[in-house]
Symmetry: C2
Subunit: 567 residues, 2 copies
């Protein structure tokens, strides 16, 4: 390589002027400008994906609002084609409505909403999604989004809104009081550069999966061709409201202590701890007291880093009761079973709702897993059926970014051969995972993948192994049964051939030989059938002892069917 | 299922009070609070990953600052272990330094910086990264980050800073003027809950790849055990500075027109278009004029959505020259070749820098690909060597979130069998991809994966096929050569055996038979060798006509070596 002279700025002045020039370019930008330029970070990219994401943002908001105010959700989604790659999405709910004061911010300001500061399970948690849709609509069509909202008290309003990205503030126009009564919220927005498809990642599949995880919600959908779909509720009661909880001592960080103590109403560190933390009784306070070197009667606002670190060390050493489950509302084994039996119609199904656990930051979470085998389980891929993974977070279907998601990763680390699934690429299996938490650690603001926190991965793996073991017992049993059946058939098939050949060589009586042979085989088979029955009884017993595993069809009958199809 | 009565809120008042209660919870939060709670979105999660990401944020800032002010970068990285899962990172550069006015914001305010508003290739583009590290440091250790910065003009300062997350503003303490001279910027911050590993995704590998893509930078590193590494510059000149460019008409959106026109200095729409867009000459203006129905002499500030849409339709119909390449600075085929030859030492290498293209939003981008085969190419995985993918964006190594990245996806869609790579899982191949653009469409604020924009995927695929074809010629030739060699060896090996056996059966003279046999084989081989030589000449010619493919060792010699190792 030729040695060139290092070309640097030659003089001090030149360097200083370059540096000052750089200083002059220093600017701040608003979070709306940021996401406007980076709409892909909100998942708002890809023609098909964008429409699904828009439906997702509006529908999750509606579900949350209904449930929080004790209303059984009825949500109606319409998509109209306005032109080439140009669609309008309308979502109407029967929710509580939004006050005039908040409606602009809810749909027209990023990082604003009811959910960010709470320790409570909800679908939304960022205060970004719906406002991001408003921004995308105005960016691609120049049009405002239309909102109608009312509380059924005669004061419904309609308005149009856009976002001023520089200020991250809503601009409201055409605000009107409505003549007629309306209870709920309707949002209508137009999007160019999008495409409606009835695919794996399209709005219809999104709604189908939403129905699976929300059996209490009624969803209706009209696609651009005018076709209508209704997912009726299969359960007439809202899930019990999760309660807002206090952070659990395990997993709380020093930084958390220092920020909670500033706003605590407790006058001493002791009252601060007992007021502001979950599972912190008198015994817990005593245990902490024994372990810290400062006076627990001091004002919590004066806690410094070192003292907070002492508290955290104490928290780590003390045994606390597991976090309150009040904050978490799993779908429940019974509901998952009903949903999957009605929609996937598997031959075998095992369901598990694990106990709550905690991940970094003091956030309780809980994992629900179901493994469905046979029937319509699995995903058709050409001739084959491969393992299908249905991911949910707080009952919200995750359709995108699977490769990056802790739920997928956990599933991939499982050695499925142990559970008699030789190759997930050719297995008629659906794995259902619902991850619930007061704070889902999404990898991005588009909320489609969960970060692989250690505790999370481990819990999912444990749940998969626990359910996998049960599915494996059934699958192995089915495989053995099929193999034995095949063996039997082979014996019968070859007896005539073999006897013919033998009699030709040995000149002995063919039909007698055949009789003897059949007798022999029958004896052998009887022994085997006894073994089979024993085995079947064992499997049935194992699976029956378990409340969470379900065999839909009598196995023998099913085996026959499969055999016939196989011919 | 038992029919339960729908449990809704019973009275209007109850509903209204629930709705009002929800209203009361409506809050806004700062972008700093948002990312503090969602640090995984900045990639700041995982014990090992976190340290790599911190190094990444500081080093990219240093490289950008040096290059922008014409300084050849010398960057020194140190990681010290302070305790269990507790490390300190120090990065010192010889850059231009930061003014006292900006230093707080640069390291202590999210969404602030020099790069967000520009159309110019740079590593950073968000104004989030370094401030995110400051936040993580204070969250995990309670400690401030230390900064020393100076311009070599006797006014160096040192200071400590943290972020106030509620306000997203820096808090500076211990600000001092330094006694001794200092030119550059040094940042030092502590992180708990992290782990140093010398792994695929550790800081050392990050710096090694940074060196590959930045041959003009000198990087030194001291790991926690005290081991030192120096990556010397192999090129003594900074890449030519990219210039800030104007947006290209193709790919500009209606929304862009409406926001650019507000700040344009042009007094008519015609001057606005020619001032504010790339490649917009008098001819372009004429072509637009022909296609729009409004007066091009009107004030651009009065453009409405429909008029802007007419302009965009005109843009789509008109042929423009490809975007200025001034904004893009590829590494260049020559530099990539040198880097890979020195670091990967492959047997065969082909390099390609494609011409710039444009993706949605008017952003020019360019793709550089290299395929290296043999030598140290590929990634060791146990006994096997598998295809290794080195991803870069604007010369920055991307070590994480591969599954989600357009670069990986494009590579996975290639039918490698066509290029004689039967199974990427067992191929000694390194695929190098550098994606450069004035705006990288990252999928998340952690900037580790690129969104799969259609135009981007297609360009990468084309580049892969173009280089793949060349690699395939070489690999196929090598394979045939090896097969022929094997055939030859087999002939010689079996002649004695065959002759012995034949002579035993036929009682003919064994040594004479052997001589004849050898003669026969020799003749046959000569014919084949002539064919081989012809084929070799053809391959050499094909590859020699191409400036971008390089064979490092004479193929025959290499083949022998491999053979010997194989024994």
């Amino acid at each position: 390589m030729p040695e060139k002279k290092v070309k640097e700025k030659d003089t001090e002045e030149e360097l200083l002027s370059a540096a000052k020039n750089l200083d002059g370019q220093f600017k701040e930008h608003s979070v709306a400008e940021f996401f406007k330029k980076n709409k892909q970070m909100l998942g708002l990219y890809g023609k098909v994906r964008t429409l699904t994401m828009v439906v997702h943002e509006y529908v999750t908001n509606s579900l949350d609002a209904c449930e929080e105010t004790g209303i059984l959700p009825n949500i109606d989604v319409k998509i109209d084609e306005l032109g080439e790659e140009y669609y309008e999405v309308t979502v109407t709910d029967n929710g509580p409505g939004i006050s005039q004061e908040n409606v602009g911010k809810a749909f027209g300001k990023l990082l604003a909403g009811t959910k960010f500061h709470r320790m409570m399970q909800s679908r939304g948690q960022q205060g970004i999604g719906a406002a991001g849709c408003t921004m995308l609509s105005q960016m691609t069509t120049g049009k405002a989004s239309k909102v109608i909202t009312g509380r059924g008290n005669g004061k419904a309003i309609s308005l149009e809104l856009t976002i001023d990205p520089k200020m991250n503030e809503p601009k409201i126009t055409n605000l009107k009081e409505l003549e007629k009564e309306f209870k709920g919220t309707a949002i209508q927005a137009k999007f160019k550069g999008t495409l409606y498809r009835d695919s794996d990642q399209g709005p219809l599949e999104y709604l189908r999966r939403t129905a699976i995880a929300n059996p209490h919600a009624q969803l209706s959908f009209r696609d651009p061709s005018g076709q209508k779909f209704i997912f009726k509720r299969s359960h007439n009661q809202n899930p019990e409201r999760p309660e807002e909880i206090k952070p659990h001592p395990k997993g709380t960080t020093v930084d958390d202590i220092l920020s909670y103590c500033k706003t605590s109403k407790g006058r001493t560190v002791a009252t601060f701890l007992s007021n502001d933390f979950d599972r912190m009784g008198a015994k817990g306070i005593d245990e902490v007291k024994k372990r810290v070197r400062f006076d627990m009667n001091k004002d919590p606002k004066t806690l410094n880093w070192e003292e907070s670190e002492e508290i955290i060390k104490a928290f780590k050493a003390i045994d606390f009761i597991a976090p309150s489950t009040d904050a978490l509302r799993p779908i429940g084994e019974d509901q998952i079973r009903k949903s999957l039996q009605s929609i996937v119609q598997p031959e075998f199904l095992t369901v598990l709702t694990r106990k709550p656990a905690v991940y970094a930051g003091g956030y309780p979470f809980q994992v629900e897993i179901a493994i469905a085998y046979g029937g319509n389980a699995g995903k058709k891929a050409g001739e084959q059926t491969q393992m299908e993974i249905m991911r949910f977070a707080n009952r919200v279907p995750l359709l995108f970014d699977a490769g990056n998601c802790a739920l997928t990763k956990a599933i991939q680390t499982i050695d499925w051969k142990r559970y008699d699934i030789k190759d997930p690429e050719t297995a008629p299996v659906t794995v259902f995972v619902n991850f619930i938490s007061v704070h889902i650690p999404y990898t991005g603001a588009g909320k489609q993948a969960i970060a692989d926190e250690e505790e999370v991965l481990e819990e999912i793996r444990l749940a998969l192994m626990q359910t996998g073991r049960k599915a494996g017992i059934y699958i192995a049993h089915k495989r053995r049964e099929a193999e034995n059946q095949q063996k039997r058939e082979m014996f019968y098939k070859y007896i005539p051939e073999i006897c013919k050949a033998f009699s030709a060589i040995t000149k002995s009586n063919e039909s007698e030989m055949r009789k003897n042979m059949e007798k022999l085989v029958l004896q052998k088979l009887k022994l085997e059938e006894a073994k089979d029955a024993e085995e079947k009884a064992r499997v049935d017993k194992v699976l029956k002892e378990d409340d969470n595993s379900f065999i839909t069809k009598p196995k023998a009958e099913k085996a026959k069917e499969t055999k016939e199809k196989g011919k």
